[in-house]
Symmetry: C2
Subunit: 223 residues, 2 copies
Amino acid sequence: MKLKDINKPIGLGAQVAEALTLAILEGDYSGGDQLLELELQDYFGVSRSPLREAFRELEKKGLVEIIPRKGTFVKTITRRDIEENFPIRAALEGLAAQLAVPNLTPDSLAMMSEKLDGMRAAAEREDTQAYYSRHLAFHELFIALSKNRLLISSLETLRMQALWHRFSYQYYQEDLKKSLADHQQIYEGFTKYRNQPERCRKMVEDHIIIAFDRFLTYLKTSG
Amino acid sequence: MKLKDINKPIGLGAQVAEALTLAILEGDYSGGDQLLELELQDYFGVSRSPLREAFRELEKKGLVEIIPRKGTFVKTITRRDIEENFPIRAALEGLAAQLAVPNLTPDSLAMMSEKLDGMRAAAEREDTQAYYSRHLAFHELFIALSKNRLLISSLETLRMQALWHRFSYQYYQEDLKKSLADHQQIYEGFTKYRNQPERCRKMVEDHIIIAFDRFLTYLKTSG
DNA sequence: CATGTTACTATTGTCGACAATAGTAACATG
DNA sequence: CATGTTACTATTGTCGACAATAGTAACATG
């Protein structure tokens, strides 16, 4: 029998951390903004202990920088940050794909196909929002199948930062058709190359690098 | 002109975190041990605030696990942890090598050669301790040359965990000659394949995977 | 004896107060 | 006027106290 984790108690610190994470991801703060303890203390109605705990949590996620004796500041996303993030994600998602191959079951392939259908539907009605979240879920599928917990959690952090970048450049609209075709190919690759993990790795890695290139091109032409 | 970072003030929390990090890495604690606030409060002569801050720091480094309402516990290193760590490190150090290639200067190659000499000297007098620390420095050279700060800091964490593993299995003695030959080859690879970053990547990645295999074999035959 | 309840203890969670510091503004000095 | 000094304010750092909880032991109940 498999027992589910009993739900952990969630303290004030964790709650505040979650609220602040959302606020930052949604762009309520600008890079460089200081998170003032006194102010947030009033806002959330908690004392400074859980607040500072929350700050640590945010630091771990890479959303803020804590400078001793000065304060906690929302990180500024620079182009360099993006350029540093992508190659790492490409390497690690590629690795995840490779490790996922031996764990691919008909079931999991069916789930991927399902997500793909959802993406296609969203693309057809040009619902970028829906497309994007399903696209994230698609990636999460094979990442989870890598069964490497350290890899999964590392990618979670890296991908959150990428998500944040995305929000910062919110006018960026993906070419949904191109992206869909890419993912269709990845799915087919997983079905075809069941005995070539290395090939699946390269496939996913290249996919992310190409998406990155498109993004960079967008930055150049629009900025 | 390049200005050096002015030295950041270092609070009690950071000091305690450093002391505890060393204690854990050196094996003063066993996996599963609880870090009691009251006890450490007496030991370090600080109050609980900086102590809890230190716990967060340790959690970020992956050395402890904080369970709400129960406490902070030293992580237990399992074989699975090691098995999860190595492939990620291999992928990322490989990437670091690839990114380092365009930044390789005669100077930096000379430094690598120097480190290599130090390793050779240590290997000849069978000084495993010295060999190991120089070996770490050798890797750090090309990691730094990747000039990708996110990659550098990610690898720092991953490599610390590996270091910790090593301490846990302290009877593991590397075959210094084999290891030295490997690194000699890596150095030569960097000098020869200056226009083949991909090749350097594969070279370093394979190196770590092979070292990992040796380690696993050791675990099997000795455990 | 099996189970439920209560009381107690050890520990973490949260709070508000005071200390220390960084940054700034006003003033003093030559 | 340029620089040094002092006083003040806003903010983070640290502390000790009380609250809440988890875990255990003792007891009660049928």
